[in-house]
Symmetry: C2
Subunit: 211 residues, 2 copies
């Protein structure tokens, strides 16, 4: 029987889920090189040999997690649509990115560490999907500039700024929490921080924004 269409068994589903979750934790905390399969197994509550039954190598496990991160990345990417109103399109995109930073901080950290290490696992993604997406958005932003809808700024640099700001709230959450009296940002604070980012960036590129 073709295993491709075989339903995943109950224990497989349960264990793969808890391994992936533990691995996300550990990879975010220690990076690929620093993470150990025995620590991941311990956090997942299973023996190491069992982990290797589901994911034969540390690399395979890491790649599975990288795949999840891509999926999330693509979801946010889709919110940047070719809209007539740059203010609406950009504010929707920034908000989507801020949302992801809050909901998936571990993925963001793993991504950051991958890039810092020279993207050994995701270089092809950068060169194909990310590059393609960026070029198409650069075109849209250029059109907005040509139509006089936003100030003349280099589109790529604008995107970098959006990425920087939004990912910062995931990657540097610990630093922000420390400055916030040791507390994570509340829902209200996070909404403020999001509005703040949207406002500064939009006003920064000359888009009127109602407060």
């Amino acid at each position: 029987m073709d295993t491709q269409f075989q339903k995943k068994s109950k224990p497989r589903k349960r264990n793969e889920a808890s391994i992936l979750s533990a691995a996300e934790d550990v990879f975010a905390e220690l990076g690929f090189a620093g993470a150990t399969t025995s620590l991941i197994a311990r956090r997942a509550g299973i023996p190491k040999a069992n982990l290797h039954y589901y994911f034969p190598t540390k690399q395979a496990l890491y790649r599975a997690i990288i795949n999840n991160i891509f999926t999330i990345w693509l979801q946010a990417a889709e919110t940047f649509d070719d809209c007539d109103d740059p203010g609406e399109a950009l504010s929707r995109y920034i908000r989507a990115k801020m949302d992801i930073a809050r909901k998936h901080p571990l993925g963001s950290k793993i991504w950051a560490q991958e890039i810092m290490q020279g993207a050994p696992q995701i270089q092809d993604f950068l060169e194909t999907t990310l590059k393609g997406w960026t070029l198409s958005r650069v075109k849209i932003i250029k059109r907005w500039i040509a139509e006089g809808k936003i100030a003349s700024v280099d589109p790529a640099y604008l995107l970098y700024m959006i990425w920087a700001t939004t990912q910062h709230y995931a990657d540097f959450a610990h630093q922000i929490n420390t400055l916030n009296g040791g507390q994570a940002l509340s829902d209200k604070q996070y909404e403020e921080v999001t509005s703040n980012a949207v406002t500064i960036i939009l006003r920064g590129i000359g888009v009127q924004v109602q407060e």
Copy 2:
């Protein structure tokens, strides 16, 4: 004789320098947990036992590097002075940070990984020096707002945005280079990117900026 005032011998100076340089490389690339003393020693061109003669433990070596990063951080911090003109003060600070991001990308990456891992080595610095510095700058920014010199934004969130944008160019240099046709940003591009950041942020908080 008091060794504290003893001049460092020639070999000591030479070796400590090359070890620190190699260690900065490796820690930035692999994080504290992932870095190995034998790899650092190999890159420094000395046997591992010799490395441990100068830095008894991996921690001691790491702390020495963290100390260097603090020094650099403080240098940038000083450029944010209590100036009458927010535009001038902020643009000077942003430029200083961008400069550091370019000149010391490894330090920035090590800092980023420290924070992502929950700041095991620098928590006290965050709670004392960084917190104190931030509070004092928040006061200055609040005064600017009260005087109507800049728009009403949360000062802390403004600082986060500045940190995010400037550090991004160090931490995510590889991603940016990939999107830049595999080339590092040229001097000219880096100047553009810096001006772009200054412009968007200043305009974003309602400061006129001449282009």
